[in-house]
């Protein structure tokens, strides 16, 4: 599959946002991933052409970063944090359940192509452990049963919403959002903050401590 002209135009647009066009390479790789479902040789070539780099230079960058898949990704990326905090608090059990449900292991795609599983590193949500992500949206304080239910609903094509973000739409759509090429209209989807983010503010309220921002 090749990279369509519209995408090539978008790649050039990303490159134009920086004083030095090469700075756009990471967003560009997210964008080609959104088109083909992975960073293919064609995707690498399109980035190289836009930036006047060799394909070897682009491939060297693409292979450094774990978010770029080098084989066709599944429809939904499912990550389970198994770094220390999440693992101990239940992440290992969540991983076992999710892996059994999808029938595959780390960095593998389920037979029907629905799930792309990854044991992820710290997702900056230890307060919300154990954490699962679907297409990089948070599923906080999950349990093995809840995690499997999310996978069941995704498999059935039902709408699934992040606990701290919007509805999930697949790995390709997430890659496009991350590239920053345009607004996906989901900024206001999901809560502005959840109770764990508000824990300190609630503790202050309980103790009658007012805002300390100098009248702001």
């Amino acid at each position: 599959m090749s990279i369509p002209e519209t995408t090539r135009g978008e790649l050039a647009e990303l490159a134009g946002r920086y004083p030095d066009a090469r700075s756009a390479l990471l967003p560009m790789l997210h964008l080609v991933q959104s088109v083909e479902g992975y960073v293919s040789p064609d995707g690498i070539a399109a980035c190289a052409e836009t930036l006047a780099l060799s394909t070897a230079e682009v491939a060297a960058v693409a292979t450094f970063y774990t978010m770029y898949k080098r084989r066709p990704a599944g429809k939904h990326h499912v990550g389970v944090c198994t770094n220390t905090m999440c693992a101990l608090l239940g992440g290992d059990a969540v991983w076992d359940a999710v892996s059994a449900r999808a029938g595959v292991g780390h960095d593998e795609v389920s037979q029907d192509g629905t799930f792309d599983l990854e044991r992820i590193e710290c997702q900056a949500a230890c307060t919300h452990a154990p954490v699962m992500t679907v297409d990089w949206e948070f599923f906080d304080r999950t349990t093995p049963d809840e995690a499997v239910e999310v996978l069941d609903r995704l498999a059935a094509g039902e709408e699934v919403r992040s606990t701290r973000g919007p509805v999930v739409r697949g790995y390709r759509a997430a890659s496009r959002t991350i590239s920053g090429i345009d607004d996906d209209g989901l900024t206001g989807d999901g809560p502005n903050a959840d109770e764990l983010m508000l824990a300190g503010l609630r503790a202050a309220e309980e103790r009658g401590v007012p805002a300390a921002d100098g009248g702001r």
Binding site: Y18, P19, D20, R22, L25, L26, P27, F64, Y65, T66, M67, Y68, G79, N83, T84, L88, L89, G90, A93, A97, I120, E121, C122, Q123, A124, C126, T127, A129, P130, T133, W136, E137, F138, R141, P144, S162, G165, T177, I178, G180, D183, D184, L186, T187, P191, N192, A193, L196, M197, L198, A199, G200, L201, A203, R207, V209, A211, A212, D213, G214
Partner: protein
């Protein structure tokens, strides 16, 4: 009382991430105020406040800004490190979700101070909702005239770009971040030269953490002395502290520096079993662990250093006695092994060696001589790589051994999961594990 809702003050308002909510509480009023000041006076103000970097190293912010050579004819850049991925740290991502405009306003003021017309926020790739909220905030700020050409008629121009990383912990290291932002593999540079002299595109660059920059509008509004009403002489101000682990109410707590872990535990509802922590880490997996005997130490840069650890990101992870120290440390080392960029041999080879040896202890197959070997390995890695990742990887084991040698000795004959039932450490409802 040491709770200090500043950055978090209005997170309970459902539109807190919008420009409307931010302006409702005086947000962006400081742009006109700041742009009317001499840039050097702005740098001096931040110097006077004593603000220290909130990304882990705690370097004085105003001093860092002051290192940028002025009148050098080169473009200057501000790069915000929003690559939060240190195990334990979960403060910048909540801030950017709930209050992204404080960061945007801070970028405007900081860029003006260091004479930068281009600023970048490097956000780790794996958080699309943060990208949405930040990009929307930047778009709102452009539309309101706080970004772009001739901001508020001041003659000052600023473009602010929200940039996406792609999954690499190492890019939280400032020079690796700069290489990554230049479209390269994220590998650290040898320092010196430091970024303030030769950073992005070999031009003078300030790299600051999200929370550091978000402090700036509040300091401009309220003055340097306002910040110093909290904390200590060496650690002034307040801090977002994310408390995770076996506490009843994990979450983000904004407190004065100098708050003790015991006070923080009280705010967090105490330990889930009502007891005391078995061990805790004040600021991420890269700082040495402490135990219950350290609960009354003030959480400041200097007090943590005196206790042989570091304040780091000030994001305490708290574990009760259901947890195997061997298992916890092994998992952290597997992380460092995965995230080592491979540039420096001691880190590339050493992280794998430590992790592999620790895995033997976790399985109950370690040996007494290997305890000594691990100590020597860590000692050989420390200080021998370009960046601090190697140092971080050499930190958890010696600290754990100091407090819990018995558990490593037990790892010569008993698997960690036998000594400590993994189900007991979870926070899952009863019967939830399969």
């Amino acid at each position: 009382m040491t709770l200090t809702p500043v950055l978090t003050a209005h997170w309970d308002e459902s539109d807190s991430y919008t420009i409307g909510a931010y302006r409702r509480h005086g947000g962006y009023d400081q742009v006109a105020q700041g742009l009317a000041m001499d840039p050097d006076a702005l740098i001096q103000l931040v110097k006077d406040s004593g603000l220290r970097g909130r990304g882990g190293a705690g370097f004085p912010t105003g001093m860092k800004w002051g290192f940028v050579p002025q009148g050098d004819g080169k473009p200057h850049y501000l790069v915000v490190n929003a690559d939060e991925s240190e195990p334990g740290a979960c403060k910048d991502i909540p801030l950017m979700l709930a209050n992204p405009h404080s960061l945007v306003e801070g970028c405007i003021l900081t860029s003006y101070a260091i004479r930068a017309n281009h600023a970048f926020i490097y956000v780790r790739g794996e958080v699309p909702h943060v990208h949405r909220r930040l990009r929307a905030a930047v778009a709102e700020a452009y539309a309101a005239g706080f970004l772009g050409r001739n901001i508020l008629g001041s003659g000052f121009d600023l473009d602010l770009v929200v940039h996406a990383g792609a999954g690499a912990y190492i890019c939280g290291e400032e020079t690796a971040l700069l290489d990554s932002l230049e479209g390269r593999r994220g590998q650290p540079r040898l320092k010196p030269p430091f970024p303030a002299v030769a950073g992005l595109y070999a031009s003078p660059t300030v790299v600051n953490n999200v929370e550091t920059i978000a402090n700036v509008p509040y300091i401009v509004r309220n003055g340097a002395e306002w910040l110093t009403q909290w904390g200590t002489e060496k650690s002034p101000g307040f801090k977002l502290m994310s408390v995770s682990g076996h506490v009843r109410r994990p979450g983000v707590y904004e407190v004065a520096l100098g708050t003790t872990m015991r006070q923080l535990l009280d705010y967090a509802g105490g330990m889930r079993n009502g007891g005391e922590p078995k061990f805790w880490l004040p600021g991420g997996s890269s700082v040495p662990m402490l135990t219950a005997e350290h609960l009354d130490l003030p959480l400041t840069y200097e007090d943590m250093a005196a206790a042989g650890t570091m304040l780091g990101t000030a994001t305490p992870m708290v574990f009760d006695d259901t947890v195997s120290v061997v298992k916890a440390v092994t998992r952290w080392l597997e992380f460092y092994k995965h995230e080592s960029c491979g540039k420096c041999t001691p880190c590339r080879e050493g992280t794998g060696w430590i992790a592999g040896t620790l895995e033997k202890f976790e399985a109950g197959h370690g040996s007494e001589p290997e305890i000594g070997m691990l100590e020597e390995l860590c000692g050989q890695i420390l200080g021998r790589s370009f960046c601090a990742l190697g140092d971080a990887a050499a930190t958890p084991f010696p600290a754990a051994l100091k407090h819990f040698r018995d558990e490593f000795v037990a790892g010569t004959h008993t698997p960690a999961d036998v000594a400590f039932d993994p189900v007991a450490a979870t926070v899952l409802p009863a019967g939830a594990t399969r």
